[in-house]
């Protein structure tokens, strides 16, 4: 089937969920079973098609440069006056894994909702598939306005998913999530427009193509001086407003725990797994390459915010009594690592951050899915009311522990690789400056981040201990007052214990994630190298600007550095005497 050109293949992958949403709608009259089966079929088909596209990307002809976009489609959408907006899609090293992750986690989201969603299944699965299309689109968009359209459009399905199928405070959570994210992203929108206008004013050509804008802005950087009106700073802050809320970077995170706790499990999986990554993707795609000087100048502050987020998220997670809220704060903490890795502006840390996007997507999606399963069985998420699940549901426990270990960075699993690279890169950055002064903030930041790792292990393992081990507890049952006496109640409890462990669809939802958790842990290079050249290209300008700023000697890192090579040189950083 090589007759299918990569471009059409990409279009097919993005259109499939939309078609699937229509099919699910047509199945509406045949009941819940038909709807969810059709949704699952669509999600599987999309995953297969997307996976195949990823394989085609990885095995593309050697003649193609590593940086060349793959599967490019371009159709004019609005070419009028000063607008030249195109439906322009394509994949490259920055987006390829996130694209695949979106397809993978969408299947997970459908499968974990199998029994949980009984009301209005048509709407639920339709919106879930719509969300999938938007997520695939946001990573494939090559036009700046198209990116924004997908970026915003992800909000709409999730708003309804949270608001209709969420828990008690769902309405408040849905509106807060939407308005908070929108308030940030409209400012990003202005920033993106300013980039287009600046490019047009400098080169005389109007383009909305992201690659063209990147090249243009590197040739004609936005002014960073008072005479130029600090334009680059303004644009950086505008983009930051949207991306920081989306990530979320800590002072802007308050929508996240509420949205996660109230969202249905499927929504949480997509939210934690993919939507948070769009913020980081935005930094990588826009801020670093297009606004290198401002990124470099802001980097120390953002590293500070990232590390603050790591510690803050971890400490808040430590005192949570609600398991889902705990995982939500652990997300805040883990996104802090990614921000740290991104703005350490070291190749090793950047690659680690990019890998950690995928790692966190897998582990947090898995953990949220498992919390949802626990909630379905015991009707509580309160840690105090849970206990001894390991005896009742050994497989569920095994998977929960696997994702926990991935999350806390146990060597051999994927989380370790990402966290280690981020921390190693941060220490490289720290050592690079030691020559100048003994105490310097980067060292402090890097050490604090390591403390965060310890805290992360503490709150996760402590929660695992309380929930899965220890005395078995009967959580207060929501339907215990059914008036049939204690025998009926007891019998019901037995029923629950009997079918307590994973069911087929739950296993099917989680096993692919588990496979990747182990696979990335064992063979990280296979996942690092396809992305490395693109990351290097995207961050080079910002790194050089940073070196200029700090008067550091130029560093010459080979693109696509392997862990072994760089890690072995760790104690002797190239710039240390």
């Amino acid at each position: 089937m090589n007759g299918l050109s990569p471009a059409n293949h990409l279009l097919l992958v993005i259109l499939m969920p939309l078609v699937g949403a229509v099919v699910a709608w047509l199945m509406g009259s045949r009941g819940q079973q038909a709807v969810r089966q059709s949704a699952a079929f669509t999600a599987v088909a999309t995953l297969v098609a997307a996976g195949w596209l990823v394989i085609r990307f990885l095995t593309r002809p050697a003649g193609l440069s590593a940086l060349e976009p793959f599967a490019v489609i371009e159709v004019p959408w609005l070419v009028e006056g000063m607008f030249d907006i195109r439906l322009s899609l394509g994949l490259d090293g920055l987006s390829i894994w996130l694209f695949g992750l979106s397809a993978l986690l969408s299947l997970t989201a459908v499968l974990v909702s199998w029994d949980a969603i009984k009301e209005k299944p048509v709407g639920f699965y339709g919106l879930l598939l719509l969300l999938e299309a938007a997520m695939l689109g946001v990573f494939a968009a090559r036009d700046i306005i198209l990116f924004y359209v997908f970026f915003e459009f992800t909000l709409v399905p999730l708003f309804f998913l949270i608001g209709i199928w969420g828990h008690d405070e769902r309405r408040k959570a849905a509106v807060k999530f939407f308005v908070y994210t929108l308030a940030g992203s409209v400012l990003s929108f202005l920033g993106l427009l300013a980039i287009v206008l600046w490019h047009a004013s400098q080169t005389g050509t109007i383009t909305f193509d992201i690659a063209g804008l990147t090249a243009g802005l590197q040739a004609h950087p936005l002014p960073m001086t008072a005479a130029g009106g600090w334009l680059q700073w303004l644009v950086f802050l505008a983009l930051f407003a949207g991306f920081a809320v989306k990530v979320p970077i800590v002072p802007f995170h308050t929508w996240l725990p509420l949205a996660h706790v109230e969202a249905p499990t499927g929504g949480s999986v997509d939210l934690a797994g993919v939507l948070l990554k769009i913020g980081i993707y935005g930094f990588l795609r826009f801020s670093l390459p297009m606004l290198p000087e401002a990124s470099a100048a802001a980097a120390p502050w953002l590293v500070g915010l990232g590390v603050f987020g790591i510690l803050y998220g971890a400490l808040v997670a430590l005192v949570q009594t609600d398991l889902k809220r705990l995982i939500a704060y652990s997300s805040v903490s883990h996104m802090g690592y990614i921000v740290l890795g991104l703005f350490a502006l070291e190749p090793l840390a950047l690659e680690g951050a990019n890998l950690q996007l995928i790692n966190h997507g897998l582990s947090s999606a898995g953990l949220f899915a498992l919390v949802g399963m626990i909630y379905e069985r015991f009707h509580t998420r309160s840690i105090a009311n849970l206990g001894g699940i390991a005896a009742k549901a050994p497989w569920l426990t095994v998977l929960f522990m696997l994702f926990t270990f991935s999350s806390i960075g146990l060597p051999g699993l994927n989380g370790f690789v990402g966290e280690f690279m981020i921390l190693a890169g941060s220490f490289q950055r720290a050592w690079a400056g030691v020559a100048e002064s003994f105490f310097q903030p980067y060292l402090f930041m890097a050490v604090s981040a390591v403390v965060g790792v310890v805290l992360g292990a503490w709150y996760m393992l402590w929660a695992v201990e309380r929930v899965f081990f220890g005395p078995s507890r009967e959580p207060p049952r929501s339907h215990s007052t059914d008036g049939h006496g204690s025998h009926a109640h007891h019998h019901g409890a037995h029923d629950d214990v009997d079918r307590c462990d994973l069911r087929w669809h739950e296993a099917a939802a989680l096993l692919p994630l588990a496979v990747f958790v182990v696979w990335i842990g064992i063979m990280p290079q296979a996942f690092l190298s396809p992305a490395a050249p693109a990351i290097e290209q995207s961050a080079r300008a910002a790194r050089e600007a940073f070196a200029d700023r700090m008067n550091l000697p130029p560093q010459d890192h080979a693109a696509g550095s392997s862990i072994a090579a760089t890690a072995s040189s760790l104690p002797y950083s190239p710039s240390s005497p």
Binding site: W77, L78, V79, E80, G81, M82, F83, D84, I145, Y148, V149, E152, F153, L155, V156, F159, F160, G163, I164, R170, R171, A174, V175, F178, V179, L182, A183, V186, L187, F189, L190, L193, A194, L197, A200, S201, T203, G204, T205, I206, T207, P223, A227, G228, G229, W230, L231, L234
Partner: protein, 575 residues
């Protein structure tokens, strides 16, 4: 200025509207005609047939007191399309106030209402094509007077009377204020012709300059006040919530859309006074520069205040029509952003005459898009707002308690609060979906039409004076700030639009929405739905005429006007 047979030919669509109005009014009185809204639709369709396509870019036919060019053609088509939708809405608006209960519904679409509505449309269309102060004023009054009648006819309880009286008196004040502005302009120009006033204003006559310093701010301010009343912009906005609440959904639909178009036209005409006509080179005089500077400062300040006031007021409303009234105030603010941008861009252009030499120059002339953005925005706003009110008119009333069984039903109540829409997604999914789409469009969520409107407005604001740096207090800084205020307001607005959507989708209800409005309103809603989806998928269909109309209104060179400029422009387009 001579009025000839030619003028009457050009006025054929308006004449068709007036003839239809006469048929409706006289037919009802003497021939027992009942289906007034059918007459209205036929009249509008005839007017559309007579109006033909938009005139080609750069052409303008001046005949007596009227001008047919890209701008007036766009306004005419907006009026006719909106008029068609609103006629459907009015026809299906079987509103019955809660106070007057009884058997049966009010008659939908009486001939009197249809006739007055057609005259209103004719007046608005005349405003669009008038190039003379007198005709402009007559057009504005032809909008106002039928509006009083519509307000008084539809609802006769105390609240309705309060609404129509309030509107009546304020409208009188606004008309008087606008008339005062018109006399000032007459005093400056010595003619009622807008072209002659403009010529005088742009000249460098020292005597005129001395007078202009005193008189122009007064004239511009008064004209702005008159326009602000019609657009429901600060400081003439406060009537809107009371009036919308005290009338029927159909009337609210008319009030929130058509007068806004009139306000835009007035401001565009006032702005046009200071812009050199096509093909005339040379600098504008100091009076015109004062004019532009005052206009953009005023419009920018009012825009910022109006957007914020409208949105913040809307946040706390629970009554649905009050909320929509506040939202319409906020949208008036967005529209004023476009006017301010157009004025500021004209000021920039006056300082740096276009020579087409530098690439940046070409861009910056193409980018004189404030007026285009306003015209695009008003079209997207009209479609979505008319759709919202069409849906409300179609839904009609609620039962306080839902009862599907037989037996006496409790009395109906009008849909007043946001809560009355609770659970609409299960009781009437089509209406709920349409409403949600219209509201998301008003909120500016991509890729719906409202997003395209905000995209053009924000782009236009960011590119004002864009070759100079953003320094504090500079013209550029003003408009960057205005763009930021605009998008933040869009985020605030999302909060209350989502509240309505949340009521429809996230809540359940015991009340039963009755959907007892006329079928016509339902059809109107579906027409709006189709238009919204069409603009979403193919924004170019709206962009092309809006760009052309905006260029005509602000006398910008467009690709078709001058071969040299066209080459430069095409260079920009194709890359």
């Amino acid at each position: 200025m001579t009025t000839s047979l030619e003028t009457f030919k050009l006025l054929a669509p308006e004449i068709a509207l007036v003839v239809a109005a006469l048929v409706a009014l006289l037919g009802a009185a003497f021939a027992g005609l009942r289906s007034g809204w059918l007459v209205a639709l036929i009249g509008i369709a005839a007017a559309m047939g007579l109006a033909g396509g938009l005139p080609a870019a750069g052409t303008s036919i001046i005949s007596g007191p009227i001008t047919i060019d890209g701008f007036s053609g766009y306004i005419r088509w907006t009026v006719l399309v909106a008029g068609g939708i609103l006629a459907l809405v009015q026809g299906g608006d079987l509103f019955r106030s809660a106070v007057v209960r009884g058997s049966g519904l009010s008659r939908g679409g009486t001939c009197e209402e249809a006739g007055t509505f057609l005259i209103l449309l004719a007046g608005l269309s005349l405003v669009g094509i008038a190039n003379d102060l007198v005709l402009l004023f007559i057009g504005l009054e032809l909008i106002s007077v039928p509006t009083y009648i519509l307000l008084a006819l539809k609802r006769t309880d105390a609240r309705g009377q309060e609404a129509s009286l309030k509107y009546f008196f304020l409208s009188l004040v606004a008309s008087a204020v606008f008339l005062y502005a018109a006399t000032c302009f007459y005093g400056l120009g010595g003619s009622t012709s807008l072209a002659a006033i403009g010529d005088a204003l742009r000249s460098s006559d020292p005597r005129l300059t001395g007078m202009a310093v005193v008189l122009l701010p007064v004239a511009v301010g008064m004209a702005m006040a008159g326009a602000a009343f019609r657009m429901a912009a600060v400081p003439m906005h406060f009537y809107a919530p009371d009036v919308y609440e005290g009338t029927s959904p159909g009337n609210a639909a008319v009030l929130s859309t058509l007068p806004k178009v009139a306000g835009i036209v007035v401001l565009a005409r006032v702005l046009g006074l200071a812009i050199q006509p096509l093909g005339i080179a040379g600098e504008i005089g100091p009076a015109a520069q004062i004019h532009l500077s005052f206009l953009w400062h005023l419009a920018a300040i009012l825009a910022a205040i109006t957007m914020t006031v409208g949105n913040v007021m809307a946040l706390v409303q629970t009554n649905l029509r009050r909320l929509l009234a506040c939202s319409s105030i906020a949208h008036a603010g967005y529209l004023l952003v476009g006017i301010a941008v157009a004025a500021a861009a004209a000021a920039t252009r006056a300082e740096r005459p276009f020579d087409g030499a530098a690439a940046a120059d070409t861009m910056w002339t193409i980018g004189l898009g404030g007026m285009s953005a306003t015209l695009l925005y008003i079209a997207t706003y009209v479609v979505a707002t008319a759709g919202v009110f069409a849906a409300l008119a179609y839904l009609g009333h609620v039962w306080p308690e839902w009862s599907s069984g037989s037996g006496p039903r409790p009395p109906r109540e009008e849909i007043t609060d946001v809560d009355d829409l609770n659970g609409l997604s299960s009781t009437n999914p089509v209406a709920a979906f349409s409403l949600a789409l219209f509201l998301l469009s008003l909120a500016g969520i991509p890729p719906l039409p409202g997003f395209w409107g905000k995209l053009t407005l924000a782009t236009a604001a960011l590119e004002v004076d864009w070759t100079s740096p953003v320094t504090f207090g500079s013209r550029r800084a003003w408009f960057v700030a205005l763009a930021i205020i605009l998008v933040l307001n869009a985020a605030i607005a999302a909060a209350y639009y989502l509240r309505i959507i949340a009521a429809m989708y996230f809540r359940s209800t015991k009340k039963g929405v009755q959907a007892d409005g006329g079928l016509a309103a339902g059809v109107g809603m579906l027409v709006c739905l189709v238009l919204v989806l069409m603009i979403t998928v193919q924004p170019k269909r709206l962009f092309t005429p809006a760009m052309r109309a905006g260029a005509a209104a602000s006398n910008v060179l467009t690709a078709a006007d001058e071969p040299a400029a066209a080459d430069e422009a095409r260079l920009v387009h194709s890359d």
